[in-house]
Symmetry: C2
Subunit: 412 residues, 2 copies
């Protein structure tokens, strides 16, 4: 895409009402636009990143046989009363609204109740199980304060997956598989090295639970890590009993790190199937409650964490697989030559943002650093004379003069 | 995909609370699930259709340089007051909600106001225009009654595009282009022959306007058509003056047909740019209001209209380009042979729903007719003996015995 056509602009100054690094940089780069605290529009560059993250998640979930659906924001009271989550005294981040006839409705902050209720239409026998269903769906959460940029939204896209299993054993097998799938997702998104499967407290159906925590100063949590032994524990839940339960020697040393939760995986047991009466008949015709789990990833949160983890003083640094474009191609008054390179790269299937704007080199370079596309190619009088390209990775300082074929083969 | 793995089931009976054909068939086929009137979950089969329609629209809009964004449902009062559309007495289908601090918020039923407001961050000079921005975004409309299935939703996905042009002339050029783009979209979706660019009344900035109407008994509108001359007029707006204005001979004969609106294209003039103060400086440094238009397609409505137009007494009939799968492959006790065909078709890039379920042939056939995939292949003892496949199109009665290569070359 030609940058002159992109309707967004970059901004030199950070917005005054943003405190978080992710919101500052994403706003300055033209990725997001703030409608109100915790409510952001995704602009063309931001939507490209969001869609790439979604596609990674979708690919990994489809591989294990999960099926995509799309449920609704509007919610009926009747479905949330049996689990006792309708009342604002119990769940304090509901947004509520009303139909014309004054029927109270809620805006879903999660979907355990409606998906459990829906599955009653499709589950009656053990032959119907397991079911793994997921969606990318907009959640609404009436947060008192929302000042972490896209890390904590009042309206945000969430991937939520639910497993409907025969029993605890089958659920646990799937839960173990999901640990691997989640780690694969975080690796592909680019934060594998910074992300830890973290032991935390359990909820109703297990003594312990797991969450995925990514090390970042922007995080709201603190985890204790031993990298050698690959152990991470949420500081809130760290105690002698936990160490004993996981056979961890009390002499093991831990680093303390601020971190942000990027994924959670829950054993729900029969809490929701019991409340909403989701049963199946087993091989002997005996009725049993379906055993459930839920698995969440806040997609903008994940995107915001990536920004927080990799950004430097010059701007955003996108990992390859989720960058809005693979290559930022910059013409320094060599539009004819650059157009040729642009066409050649595009024909090779490479996504290129081509800076064809009539600006000074310094402005183009600082915009490229701010936007954070991982590979930068500059076409200048010098490179044309040498019949080469100037290539630089966003996260390296080295500038290479390299010919097109070698670049394509070795770096892109 | 193997049908035994699909978590949805088909239903023999229509849901008692549905009156519309689209909701009956889509529910019976396992495409949608009703949360409440006008609020539907999209199940795996339904989501596949929805995504295919979205991709057609996206492709056609990207071709003309439109840029995709994603705005928010939650809306601040301040942005809607200048255009006088905040009050429930003016716009009667708002859903309203509240922040914790009692600030009133709305759930967007459209996005003229917020996108106009947002563009103030990106538009200052004539060089910044034109901008064509669109989104696929969930709209909320507090309809008093919603009983047309997915044709009229209280919560539904809408493609809305906005043009930000220098002046009336530039807007009109784009408006003409969008007429063609919309017709191309409806052709690809499969309802080109039934869809008419229809003259209707104008709104504030033009004497006349256009909408796209598709002939269907399920429609809420009536249009007058002359197919030979390719003229369609909304019956509400039909009169002598209109005929004169469009140079239509008053002797021209029209058929009267029920129809459903599948797209609308509006000249907004400077209504919103004036209300929200979206201006640019022209070449002479003079400030002018941006000239706007808006272009909507309700994606589930379009899907529902397709169902209404093509369904027969046995079920849904999907057009090729938006079908959930291209081929419905049915094994009649020939699982080994069918598996081979399944693999071969999949390798050829064809999307196949493979009915590997342990059911009687009659049940498989009636499910295939209900689900409406355009191409059906049956593998039976007879076909295996003859080293051929049994092929039937959903919208034809002819059953062909044909070999694999010929089928692939001539029909898929």
């Amino acid at each position: 895409m030609k940058q002159s056509k992109l309707f967004t602009k970059t901004f030199k100054e950070s917005p005054k009402d943003e405190k978080s690094l992710n919101a500052k940089l994403l706003t300055r780069g033209g990725f997001i636009y703030k409608e109100m605290s915790g409510v952001y529009t995704f602009l063309p560059l931001g939507l490209r990143v969001l869609e790439k993250i979604k596609n990674i998640i979708r690919e990994e979930l489809n591989k294990i046989g999960a099926q995509e659906v799309k449920m609704t924001a509007l919610q009926k009271k009747e479905i949330w009363e049996p689990s006792e989550r309708w009342k604002d005294e119990v769940v304090d981040d509901w947004f509520k609204t009303k139909l014309k006839n004054n029927t109270e409705l809620g805006l879903a902050f999660t979907h355990e109740e409606p998906i459990t209720n829906m599955m009653k239409s499709f589950v009656s026998s053990y032959k119907d199980l397991p079911i793994y269903a997921y969606q990318f769906q907009t959640k609404f959460r009436n947060e008192l304060r929302a000042k972490s940029g896209i890390l904590r939204g009042r309206e945000f896209l969430m991937k939520d997956l639910y497993d409907f299993s025969l029993d605890k054993k089958h659920h646990e097998d799937f839960y173990e598989l999901m640990k691997e799938v989640y780690m694969k997702i975080f690796q592909r998104v680019g934060i594998g090295d910074q992300t830890f499967l973290t032991i935390s407290s359990g909820g109703s159906f297990a003594k312990y639970s797991y969450e995925f925590q990514t090390i970042t100063g922007a995080g709201e949590d603190i985890i204790l890590i031993n990298r050698e032994k690959n152990i991470a524990i949420n500081k809130n839940d760290f105690n002698e009993t936990l160490l004993k339960d996981f056979n961890i020697d009390s002499a093991v040393k831990f680093e303390e790190k601020k971190s942000a939760e990027v994924g959670d995986i829950y054993n729900l047991g029969d809490k929701f199937s019991r409340a909403l009466d989701l049963k199946y008949k087993d091989k002997n015709g005996k009725e049993k409650f379906v055993y459930m789990g839920s698995y969440g990833i806040g997609v903008p949160r994940l995107m915001g964490v990536v920004v927080e983890v990799f950004a430097d003083e010059r701007g955003i640094v996108w990992p390859e697989e989720i960058a809005p474009f693979q290559v930022h191609l910059i013409s320094l008054n060599q539009d004819k030559e650059t157009e040729k390179i642009y066409q050649k790269l595009s024909k090779s299937g490479i996504e290129v943002l081509y800076d064809d704007r009539d600006l000074r080199p310094g402005e183009k370079f600082s915009d490229a650093d701010l936007i954070g596309i991982p590979n930068r190619i500059v076409i200048s009088k010098k490179t044309v004379e040498k019949q080469a390209l100037e290539f630089k990775k966003r996260n390296e300082n080295e500038v290479r003069l390299i010919d097109f074929d070698k670049l394509l083969k070795e770096y892109l």
